[in-house]
Amino acid sequence: MSRLLHVITLAASVAALTAATTIASAQTPSPAPSTGTASPAPSLKDRLDRIRSQVYASPTGLRDAVPELQQILAADPSIAEAHLLLGAAYRTAGTEIMMGEAKAELQQAIELDPGLIAARLLLAQTYFDLGRYENARDEANVALRQVPGQAQFLAILGEAERHLGDPARAKALASLALEADSTLTQAHYYRARAMLDLGERDDAIKELEGVVRSGAEVPDVFLYLGIAYIDANRLDEAVASLTEGASIAPASREMTIELGRAYRLKGQLADAEQHLTQAKSTETNVQVTPEYQRVETLLNLEWGLLRLKQGRLQAAATALNTAITMNPNDGASHRALAEVYLRQGAYAKARDEAAQAKTLGAPLAADLQQRIDRAPATTAPARPTAPPTKGRE
C-alpha cells in the first residue's frame, strides 16, 4: 500500500469524482460511441443517480453500493458509469488486490467511454497508490488533451512528475492548477510536497497549514505536515499533526512511525517505543513490494535510532542492518550505523558506514565525523556509556 493511498480518502475521491464527472458531462463530449453512459434504461439511470448521490450520505456509501453495482453490471456490462462507481467502491477497500480490481473496473469504464473523465481521474490516483507514476502521468496527459487546463489533472500530472524526480516541474504544474482553481486543496497539497522536495520547508509548512485550515481530512496532509514540523524542530506541533492524522487513518504505519520519531526527539522514549511496536507490519502477503520495503526501512531505521538513544547498541545495529537490507541506499541508516559502530569501538566498520553515508548524501555531523577520523585503526572495546549523539532528526 503506498503512501498516497491515504491521500485519496473516500471523501477526496468522491469530491474529485463528482467534479470530474461534471467536467466530463458538461465540457467533453465522448469521442467514441458511449454504449454505457448514453442512455441506460430509466430504471438503471435512476439507480445510478441514487448510487452516485449515496456517496455523499456516508463514508461507506460507495462500499455499500457494491452489490447493487454488480447487479447492474450483471444486467448490462456495458454501462461505463457503473464500472466507474464500482472501481471507486473497490478503492475504498484499500487492499492491494482490491486496488487491482478497482483499476480493472476503471479501465473498463474508460474502454467503454473514453470521455469519462472521472474514471481517468480515479485511475490516475489508483496508479499513485500502486506506485505506478509513469502510468499516472500517462493518464493525466491523456485527460489534459481531453480537458486542457483542467486543474485536477494538472495537479496530478505535477505530482507524477515529482515522483518521477522533477519537483520543480511539479511545483510549476501545481501552481498552474491553482491558477485554474485556487480552492483545489489537492493542488495545494501537491505543491507543498514539491516544495518539501525542493528544500523549501517553511513555505511547504505554510501551504500544508492552509490545507488543514481548509478542513480537508486527508491523512497524508497531516503526515507530511508532521514530518515538516519535525524537520523544523517544532516537535509539539509535529505530534499534534501526526496524532490528528492517526485519528483519521489509524492503520497508517508511516504515520505511527513518524509519531514514534517525534516522541523520540522529544525524549519521550517510552511513547516512541509504543508507537514503533504498533507500527509492526501485519501483512500476511508474501509479496515484498517497493512500497513495503520503503516503510520497513523507515521503521527499522527508527528502531535503530531509538535503540541508539537508549544505549542498546547491539539492538540498534541489528535494526539498522535490517533497514539497510531493505534499502542499501538509505543514507540515514548508514549514518546511524556508523555512530553505533563508533560507540561499539568497531572503528573500521564505522568508517565504512560513514563513507557510504556520505556517498549517499547523508554525511555525518561534523563532530561525529571527526571522532571517527581520529579513531584508531583497530577495534577498541565498546563504550556503551558514551553519550548519545544525533542520528536521524
Binding site: 457494491v66 454488480q70 447487479q71 453490471l73 450483471a74 444486467a75 456490462p77 492491494e96 488486490i97 482490491m98 486496488m99 487491482g100 480490481e101 483499476k103 480493472a104 473496473e105 479501465q107 473498463q108 474508460i110 474502454e111 500502486l130 506506485g131 505506478r132 509513469e134 502510468n135 500476511t284 502477503n285 508474501v286 509479496q287 515484498v288 513490494t289 517497493p290 520495503q293 537490507t325 531493505m326 534499502n327 542499501p328 541506499n329
Partner: protein, 553 residues
Amino acid sequence: MTVKWMLPAMLLLAPAALTGQRNSSAPARPAPFVDATAAAKITFVHQSGASANKYMIESFGSGVAWIDYDNDGYPDLFFVNGAPGTSNALYHNNRDGTFTDVTAQTGVAGNTGASAKSYKTGVAVGDFDNDGWLDLYVTAFGPNVLYRNTGKGTFVDVTASAGVAGPASEWSTSTGFFDFDGDGDLDLYVANYLNYRLTDNPYCGYQKPGYRMYCSPTMFDGTADRLYRNNGNGTFTDVSKAAGIANPAGKGLGVVFCDVDGDGRTDVYVANDQVRNFLYHNNGNGTFRDVAYGAGVGFDGNGKPQAGMGVDCGDVDGDGRPELFVTNFEDELNTLYKNNGDGTFADVSAKIGLQSGYGPLGFGTKLFDLDNDGDLDIIVTNGHVIDNVQLFRPTSRFAQKPLLYENTGGGRFRDITAQSGPALQIARVGRGLAVADYDNDGDLDVVMANQGGAPILLKNTGAPGANWITIRAKGRTDNTFGLGAHVEIQAGGRRQMGEITNVASYLSANDVRAHFGLGAAKTIDRLTIRWPSGKTQTLTGVAANQILMVEEP
C-alpha cells in the same frame, strides 16, 4: 450416418476382468499412475531463463500439448520451451510406449527468426485450415507463431500470412481453437496477461543478494485478450473489440471453451490473475457478453477476486450441466463453481472436499475420469511463482506436490494424492498439464510440464473392471475434428455429457478425442452428438472399450 470403428485391436487391450463400478466405499485400488517419462524416452527439459533480474516472465513456465500430428491414431507430444533461443520439442509416439524426438525434422523448434527473442508460453492445437491435419499455435511474450501441418510430417510457419502473430510486445498465455461463429472453421482465442516490459522491472524483495523476488501482477496493468476470426482462406481477422472480448483489465492465464447454458453455442471462460474472471456468453451473432457478474463466476464466494491460473469445465455432479473449475494462488482454494442451471453458479469449493488445495499454488488442471467410473475426477499441478519464497515465508515452497482428487459421487471429492503412487509424491514446479490416452489402452494418462525442469509423463495403470469409450469426432461441414460438438452418453443407467474440446488447463492442450468412463456398462445405450452445425446424430447399442470415430452426417 457414417460410423467407422477405429482401432479395433484396442479392444484386446481393454480390461479383461469386469468387477463392477467402483464406488466411494470400495477398498483402495492400486495407485493409478506410474512415472513413464524415462521409459517413454522423453528427455525434454524446460528452461525458464531465470535470472537475477527476476523478470516476471521467468516464473511463468510453459505448456504442453497432445497432438496426433501424423494422424496415426496415437497422440504425439509437444512441449513448449520458455527462455529465448530455446527449442520446443515434438515427440512422435512410437505406439509402443516410447517416443522419438522429431523436433528438427518437423520444424517446430521455434528458436529462430521472430521467435528467437521470445519467451514461449502456451500452445493450441486445431486444424485451422480443415485439411484434416492438426496444426499448432504457440503463444509467447513476443510474437506468437502458427505452424501449419503439411500432412507430410512437417510444419510450416504461416504466422505472417495468417495474421495471428499479435503485437511483439504482447504477453500471450493460454490459447485455443474453437468455432465461435459456427461457420465451420476454427477461430482462435488468445488470452493475454500483463502490459509488461522487461525495461520496466521494479525491484521486489529485500535488497540483498538472493532476496530479490518476482513482483506481484497487481503492480502492472492487464491487457485485452484477442479473438481471431478465421476467414476460411488461411487468414484471420482480429475481431476482439467487435466481438466484445477486448477487456483491457484482463490478466488472462487460463481459458476454457464450454457451452455453459446449453444453448448450443460455445462460451468462453477466462481465469484472470488477481482480477475477476470473465465469462463471455456467446450471443450467437459473432459477439460475446461478459456475464460473470450475474453468473457469479468472477469472484470467489466471498466476493474477492482470486489469482486464477488454470481452468476447466465439466459436469462433475452428473446433473447434465457443466461446472467451472479454477486453480488459484496459495491461501486460496481452487474454486469449483457449481452450475445452478439458471445462468448462475455457486462457489461450492469449501463444501466438496477440495480443502487441501488451499496451501499449494495451483496451475495446470483437468477434470477427467481417472478411473473410468463415469464421473469426473480432478488433477492439479502445483508450484510457487517465487523461486526463493521460503526466504520470505518459511512455510511455503517453490516446488510442490500435485493434487489428485477422486470424485466420490455427486460432485464430492476426496484427496487421493497420497495413495496414488510415488510419482505424485515428488514436489515439482508444476505449470502446464494435459491429458490423453496416449497408449490407447482405455485410460487417461497425464503429462505435466514443469518450470525449469523435466516434465513427467504419468501413465495410468488402469481401473480394473471399468469400461470406457473414446470418441474421435470427424466433422464434414464442421471443423474436421468436431471441436465444439456436444456429446451425451447413456449407459448403465446413467447419463454423461461432455464436449469435444481440447482447450483447458494452463497454457496447454489436451487430446482432441473425448473420453468417457462407463463403469460396469459394456454397452452404450444411446450416444448423441450435437455437432456445432446444429446437426444431431444418435447411435445406439454402441460397444464399450473402443476408440470410435464418428463422422458428421
